[in-house]
């Protein structure tokens, strides 16, 4: 066990203080130290995007950041969106359009898409596909994910 470093991090609005080894990946920290199991780990080399989270509001890979680097930062995971009883509009569109099957990659897609839709409230299909090219889904073939994003974009702009 090497030296431990203190980490104070705000996750989904809640402040956590922990001691970590510098090598601990942020993905493992969120899942196993904080028990936030919605963030999934699919490849640990930054390609699949299942572990995507928001780091100071930006979608990044949590497997390519050390937990110690999150000190003083704000993180949001899929748990910050809706609940089973009260889904976020994007989550609602995902179920309405059947945009998930095994659901393992889904949290990564959602965390990629939430800030994307904030910045691009009316994205074109090409923009959507470009936005999710950093997330691999083995089940759906992506078509229904694209439909879900279009659906969510429409509904979220109407609301505003």
């Amino acid at each position: 066990m090497s030296k431990l470093f203190p980490v104070t991090v705000t996750v989904n609005g809640k402040v956590y203080e922990r001691q970590v080894e510098p090598r601990l990946l942020l993905s493992d920290f969120l899942r196993h130290d904080l028990g936030l199991l919605g963030t999934h780990v699919g490849c640990e080399h930054g390609i699949c995007g299942a572990c995507t989270i928001l780091f100071d509001g930006e979608a990044v890979r949590s497997c390519l950041i050390f937990a110690v680097q999150a000190n003083g930062h704000e993180i949001n995971t899929v748990e910050s969106l809706g609940t089973p009883e009260n889904l976020h509009p994007l989550q609602q569109s995902f179920t309405d359009k059947h945009a998930l099957q095994c659901g393992f990659c889904t949290p990564g897609f959602l965390m990629t898409l939430v800030p994307f839709l904030e910045e691009n409230p009316k994205p074109t299909e090409d923009e959507i596909r470009e936005a999710i090219d950093g997330n691999i889904c083995r089940c759906t073939g992506y078509e229904k994910i694209v439909e879900a994003v279009q659906d969510a974009a429409e509904k979220m702009t109407q609301k505003k």
């Binding site: 066990m1 080894e21 601990l24 899942r31 196993h32 028990g35 199991l37 919605g38 963030t39 999934h40 780990v41 699919g42 490849c43 640990e44 080399h45 390609i47 699949c48 299942a50 995971t77 899929v78 748990e79 969106l81 809706g82 609940t83 089973p84 009883e85 889904l87 989550q91 995902f94 179920t95 309405d96 059947h98 998930l100 099957q101 095994c102 659901g103 393992f104 990659c105 889904t106 949290p107 959602l110 299909e125 090409d126 959507i128 596909r129 470009e130 999710i132 090219d133 997330n135 691999i136 889904c137 083995r138 089940c139 759906t140 073939g141 992506y142 078509e143 229904k144 994910i145 694209v146």
Partner: protein, 782 residues
């Protein structure tokens, strides 16, 4: 057949948990005192083990134990033959060399486990690899299938004296006789390349031995919880009732998760018993690439014999199939190849031979497509080559030979993975093809679009193929259905779910039969405490087998409801009606009893019951078909290829499919679209490569390319036919693997069509731009 829910695009009940991070996956299991396992895996593909010294590893803080094969004593033995070979094929040879849980004496593939480290964290367990000294004598690797078949100088299993894993010849009619009658005979050698299943969630295994209760609890990301329960009980000498297997939510399966008796599920239960501590192992992506199973990788030597008018007289296919270093999964994959090679077409004479070869590579077991892909690829490509030879349009040749609806049921004479002679139960293969041609506007494409594009110098090509998917094979699956006293219904099955939507489709069947809300039906999959019979998730059999068992159990429970309600309401059964969530007297809705109350009544606490009455509104039912039900389809693709870079753009993608009665059209589309993305991956991007030393050089997503959103066609245009299967009361056929089948041959045909003037013959399945380029250069004589 439709009902309130059956046949409707019902949204999935499981989604809200998956979408919010509330679905429990294998790595989400956390137990007090849990230790973590990591496997030290071989860098060598083939080597003799001289010594493995882990004494230093034990000194590392946080390391609890290290084991090599020697440390398991008599417990170490080769695993069971998970799928035996069929006995009914005369003259077939099968050499069983089943997977060993951890290498002893000899290493047979790169990635094979050499030592298992148990530590306080996965990080520390991996650190300990640095402390373990592995002394081996490297051997040359067996990599090339055809060479390994002939050459006995290097053997994967020394005691066999050969690398032959299986030799199976099946013939219907006589190919040699057909050949004599033929005007045209075309022969080709084709490669169908190695691919990974690459579910987004890797495998995982958590085990806890409870010393006080003498019970083992296992959480496993498996497609086959009952197989694992059986093998663990047998290995440890426990009764099945002492082993409780739970499958949590599983992040995709696609085949390899059906394989059991690997290092994790064999060794970790034993270790947990020794250490009396829970242990978790989560496979990482590198391990998944190196050591989980994979598929395809066949070399076909095909010959097709035809008359001048295009009538197929016979087909011959001798193919080499890579089984990897061991063959615990029997011959499922190559038998599927044999049954699918000619299944679309009228081929009166068919000769097919499996040459299954041991290599120093990871074990081969089914991956979505599972041998069907290879058989269909071989046949579809040979029809294209024959069309070139005959100067016929490839579509015309297909239309001429496709089976007609009146020819079903058709016995194929070929024994398949379910050990019985293949029977094509029903379908309209010509109808599929015609709808597909209409949708893609084939005539217009040939007469207007393509000539115009060619004038403009564009390389626009079309590919049209037919396919079948043998699904829903036996032996059986079952369910237990219970109406609870709260009025909700629970369905438990031994089947495990990897995202197919079982939680919803089975609920749809129950909800209609019992007239309850679909969200009031809870489906429990793959938990042996709730249901302990079944074979597993494979061969697109869930909807048909579990779905039919669900239907049968629903009818039984319905009968119990009517019988109980008749007594409770004091009216004859034919006066009882099922209202939503309750029973009532026909015409008197005010005289009703909620289902939950009725469930209480069906479990009397005092008094006397009549002979033969079973308690509870509960029933168990099983369903096993005599043989599989065959889905079918046709697919057309139009590619626009940049002649400078050979990069294709998918202009159109049309898929027509027939899986009989549809339970949920939304989920059907999802299955097909997902399958297509894997097929497109196989056609363009995905390729597992071993070098000549047996080293896999594609063990990451940087090198193994998965299809991305921008790689897919904008729209997969779908058409559906519905020819119900006569085999089961609901008329269902499976669909899980269908979409993956047609893209590789369709794309090959489209490439050849685009470069029609170069007369390309593409003899491999993965057609990257660089591969197309090399064919073009060859055609130009460079």
């Amino acid at each position: 057949m439709t009902g309130k829910y059956f046949g409707k695009p019902v949204k999935r009940l499981e989604d809200k948990f998956l979408l919010t991070g509330n679905a429990k996956f294998i790595d989400d299991i956390q137990l007090p005192g849990m230790l973590h396992a990591a496997f030290l895996r071989s860098d060598y593909a083939h080597a003799k083990i001289i010594k493995i010294d882990y004494s230093e590893a034990l000194k590392r803080p946080g390391v609890v134990a290290v084991y090599t094969a020697e440390d398991f004593g008599d417990f170490w033995k080769p695993g069971p033959l998970q799928v035996p070979p069929p006995t009914a094929i005369p003259g077939s040879k099968f050499n069983a060399r089943t997977l060993v849980p951890i290498a002893k004496d000899k290493i047979r593939f790169s990635g094979e486990p050499l030592a298992v480290v148990i530590a306080e964290s996965r990080y520390i367990a991996e650190d300990a690899f640095d402390d373990i000294i592995v002394d081996v004598e490297p051997l040359p690797a067996v990599v090339d299938l055809e060479k390994a078949w002939e050459d006995t100088s290097v053997l994967v299993h020394d005691d066999l004296g050969t690398n032959l894993a299986a030799l199976v010849t099946q013939e219907s009619g006589s190919y040699e006789e057909a050949k004599k009658q033929a005007d045209v005979v075309v022969s080709k050698r084709m490669l169908i390349e190695h691919v990974a299943a690459a579910a987004m969630e890797n495998r995982g295994f958590v085990v806890n031995w409870d010393e006080r209760n003498q019970e083992l609890t296992v959480w496993a990301g498996t497609q086959s919880p009952l197989t694992i329960r059986g093998s663990i009980s047998r290995a440890l000498g426990l009764a099945e009732s002492q082993v409780h297997v739970i499958t949590p939510y599983i992040g995709g399966g696609f085949g390899p998760k059906v394989m059991s008796s690997q290092a994790d599920d064999v060794l970790l239960p034993w270790i947990s018993k020794q250490l009396k501590r829970p242990i978790k192992w989560i496979e990482d992506r590198r391990e998944n690439f190196l050591a989980t199973t994979s598929e395809r990788d066949q070399v076909h030597h095909c010959e097709i014999a035809l008359k001048k008018d295009g009538t197929i007289l016979g087909f011959k296919d001798v193919f080499y199939h890579n089984t990897g270093a061991y063959d615990s999964y029997g011959m499922t994959v190559p038998l599927n190849t044999q049954t699918h090679t000619v299944s679309n077409y009228r081929v009166p004479n068919f000769y097919t031979q499996i040459r299954m070869v041991f290599t120093n590579q990871m074990v081969v077991t089914p991956v979505r497509g599972a041998g069907r892909s290879e058989g269909i690829h071989a046949m579809e490509r040979m029809i294209d080559f024959a069309a070139h030879e005959l100067g016929m349009d490839p579509v015309e040749l297909r239309l001429k030979n496709l089976l007609k609806p009146e020819e079903f049921p058709l016995k194929t004479g070929i024994i398949g993975q379910d050990f019985v002679e293949g029977v094509l139960d029903s379908g309209d293969y010509l109808g599929n093809m015609k709808m597909c041609l209409d949708m893609v506007e084939y005539d217009k494409f040939r007469k207007e679009i393509q000539p115009k594009a060619r004038k403009e110098g564009k390389r626009l090509g079309i590919g049209v193929v037919a396919f079948t998917e043998g699904t829903a094979v036996g032996p059986y699956e079952g369910v237990k259905l219970t109406v609870s006293t709260n009025g909700k219904v629970t369905l438990a099955t031994g089947y495990s779910s990897q995202g197919q939507g079982h939680f919803t489709v089975f609920a749809q069947i129950v909800a209609d039969a019992l007239n309850v809300k679909v969200e009031d039906v809870k489906v429990i999959t793959g938990d042996t405490l709730h249901f302990a019979w079944g074979a597993g998730t494979f061969a697109s059999r869930g909807a048909t087998l579990v779905g039919t068992a669900t239907h049968l159990a629903s009818q039984k429970v319905r009968a119990k409801i009517f019988a109980t309600a008749s007594k409770a309401l004091g009216v004859p059964e034919d006066q009882v009606d099922l209202c939503e969530g309750s029973v009532c007297v026909i015409g008197k809705p005010e005289s009703s009893i909620p289902l939950g109350t009725l469930a209480s009544m069906a479990n009397p606490m005092r008094g006397v019951v009549e002979p033969g009455v079973e308690p509870g509104l509960e029933a168990t039912a099983y369903y096993g078909p005599p043989h599989g039900a065959t889905g079918s389809g046709a697919c057309a693709v139009i590619l626009d290829i940049d002649p400078d870079t050979c990069k294709p753009t998918i202009e159109r993608f049309v898929l027509v499919h027939d899986c009989g009665t549809v339970i949920n059209p939304l989920l059907l589309e999802g299955q097909l679209q997902g399958g297509v993305s894997m097929g497109i991956g196989n056609a363009f991007y995905e390729k597992m490569v071993y070098d000549e030393n047996g080293q896999m050089v594609t063990a990451s997503f940087m090198d193994y390319l998965m299809p991305l959103a921008s790689d897919m066609p904008k729209k997969i245009e779908m058409g559906h036919l519905h020819t119900p299967s006569p085999l089961n009361p609901l008329g269902i056929k499976g669909v899980g693997e269908a979409g993956a089948l047609p893209p590789p041959p369709a794309f090959a045909q489209a490439f050849e069509d685009a470069f029609y003037d170069k007369k390309l013959e593409l003899l491999e399945s993965n057609l990257s731009p660089s591969v197309i380029f090399s064919y073009l250069k060859k055609a130009e004589g460079e």
